[in-house]
């Protein structure tokens, strides 16, 4: 693992939905080291704890990272006050990302709400071999669909209230595609109940599944043991840590 801490210039900022912002950050060294599924740990001015935000885009040529985050509380609200040209303090890139395998012929990406952004680098890697299923509360909360389409991935949109795309949860189209067979891997990020259902569906079909988890975090690098996650290793219960062992875990390891 190779990470650094520093202040980096925000190259662009856009509001992609209500209370959801996209930053493009100039950080060549971090972008060079970053992998799909990793996260950045951002200092929120005036707060003790940094805020972990997943990486939504890696452009090694331009030397930029993209993050898309939602204002969830005071810390993320403070980060959202930053504008184009401002410096953002990051400890990055952190954690273990997704396992990418070029031999995979068909993969499914499942994003729920603000769990959708870390799926985008996977769509870029797999392109037409990917089906990107995204679920949101309603039409106003929908993000990144154009970005997913631009990767060549098949995009399937669901909303809880039916105001856009399919009326229902992401697990319905997931099960339909799994049923057809030929799926090499499923990658998912989103609320815990969604991840649990995705993991169960994959287990039933014997499909390789990786999920990205979230937890309240302090150090971000595996020293303080704050962000515990119950997992199973060698038939023994083990509290792994989302920051260092994750945020991406093989679904079968996680004890729900």
């Amino acid at each position: 693992m190779k990470y650094t801490q520093g202040q980096f210039i925000i190259a662009s900022k856009t509001a992609v939905a209500k209370e959801i912002y996209s930053f493009e950050i100039n950080c060549p060294e971090v972008a060079q080291a970053a992998a799909a599924g990793q996260f950045v740990h951002i200092r929120a001015c005036g707060f003790t704890l940094r805020r972990p935000i997943s990486i939504c885009g890696i452009n090694k040529e331009k030397g930029t990272l993209r993050i898309v985050f939602e204002v969830r509380g005071e810390g993320t609200a403070k980060i959202a006050e930053l504008n184009k040209g401002d410096l953002i303090d990051m400890l990055a890139p952190l954690g273990h990302g997704f396992k990418l395998d070029d031999s995979f012929k068909k993969v499914i990406l499942v994003g729920g709400g603000i769990g959708t952004p870390p799926m985008l680098p996977l769509a870029q890697f797999y392109g037409e071999r990917a089906s990107a299923i995204s679920g949101f509360r309603n039409a106003q909360a929908v993000i990144l669909q154009e970005d997913f389409r631009n990767t060549g991935a098949e995009t399937i949109l669901c909303t809880d209230d039916g105001s856009a795309g399919i009326h229902g949860f992401v697990t319905t189209p997931l099960s339909e595609i799994l049923e057809k067979g030929g799926v090499d891997a499923v990658y998912a990020c989103g609320p815990m109940p969604m991840l649990k259902n995705v993991a169960a569906a994959c287990k039933e079909k014997g499909v390789f599944c990786q999920i990205s988890l979230e937890e309240r975090m302090a150090c971000g690098i595996g020293a303080c043991l704050g962000c515990a996650c119950r997992t199973q290793r060698n038939d023994e219960e083990y509290f792994a840590h989302v920051c260092k062992d994750g945020p991406v875990f093989n679904a079968e390891e996680v004890l729900w």
Binding site: M1, K2, Y3, T4, Q5, R43, F47, T48, L49, R50, E74, G75, L91, E215, R216, M217, A218, C219, G220, I221, G222, A223, C224, L225, G226, C227, A228, C229, R230, E237, Y238, F239, K244
Partner: protein, 303 residues
């Protein structure tokens, strides 16, 4: 460049800044960011006789100018520390305070005994972790029990023994005097203050353990007060900690009576905090024409 070196119970520190136990693991993760030999010392993650899994998540919560934690002493056990972590740390040219804990005085003594034949420089006995439901919490809040655990560990080790005190007591000076009489070579304080936050939308405490230890800048004035009181009550050295986040804070805590300073939550805000604090202390001393940091220990002139 002022002389930043200090000596505590015969143990040399190249400077007085030590990452506090629990925030810094066994050091490996921070070596990625800066060479550990910049630090005066390291207080390693609290380690018990056997591996502990710790508490369920969430274990962390933000608070105004601070945070709560309830990790619950997750650690790989003392044998793992000695076999797999200590050899690495011993190559790093910094003073090692091995922080130990246990559910009974006997367990604490057994852990200390296992360190006897190692090259650990000091033992820091945690009698105050507020997160462990059984045993641990009680030692630090009762003079007789604090003395008992100190005596048992004292008998088990010839290494300099630092006893880490809890602020969650009626009189921290009484506890400090008790552990001094029981054979402690130094005391370190303050451990975290017991706190709680509730998510008012769900009615649930944020921490899965309901309560946890509060640290960060918000507790700093409490630390200054307690360090000052204890330094005036005992003859043994005091290692200060609690909300230190700048060189000025470290100077202030040393003026209150601390011979060295541990840095905790500030490292989460800025992982380079300990290194920056050392530089800032140097600048302050130079600006005042003070040649040695030792000259400011206990230099407060109370009204």
């Amino acid at each position: 460049m002022a002389d930043l070196s200090v000596n505590i119970c015969g143990v040399d520190f190249k400077n007085p800044i030590i990452p506090a136990s629990g925030v810094f693991g066994y050091g490996r993760e921070y070596e990625e960011l800066f060479p550990l030999n910049k630090l005066g010392g390291i207080a390693t993650k609290g380690t018990t006789l056997r591996r502990r899994t710790g508490n369920l998540a969430p274990r962390i919560a933000e608070t105004p100018s601070g945070m709560l934690n309830s990790v619950g002493l997750q650690n790989p056990g003392i044998d793992h520390f000695i076999e797999s972590e200590l050899p690495y740390l011993l190559t790093k040219d910094l003073t090692i305070l091995a922080n130990i804990a246990g559910s009974t005085p006997e367990e604490c003594a057994e852990v200390a005994a296992k360190l006897e034949d190692t090259d650990v420089h000091m033992i820091e006995l945690n009698i105050s972790c507020p997160n462990v439901k059984q045993g641990g919490a009680a030692f630090g809040t009762d003079c007789a029990m604090a003395a008992e655990v100190t005596r048992k560990v004292r008998k088990a080790t010839s290494k300099p023994l630092v006893v880490k005190l809890s602020p969650n007591v009626t009189s921290i000076t009484d506890i400090a005097k008790s552990v001094e009489d029981a054979g402690a070579d130094a005391v370190s304080l303050i451990n975290t203050l017991l706190g709680m936050r509730i998510d008012i939308n769900t009615g649930r405490p944020i921490l899965r353990n309901n309560v946890g230890g509060m640290s960060g800048p918000a507790v700093f004035p409490v630390a200054v007060r307690m360090v000052w009181q204890v330094a005036n009550a005992v003859k043994i050295p005091v290692i200060g900690m609690g909300g230190v986040s700048s060189g000025k804070d470290a100077i202030e805590l040393m003026m209150a009576g601390a011979s060295a300073v541990q840095v905790g939550a500030a490292i989460f805000t800025d992982p380079f905090a300990p290194v920056k604090i050392i530089d800032e202390m140097n600048q302050f001393l130079d600006s005042k024409g003070i040649s040695s940091v030792r000259d400011i220990i206990g230099a407060v002139k109370p009204w």
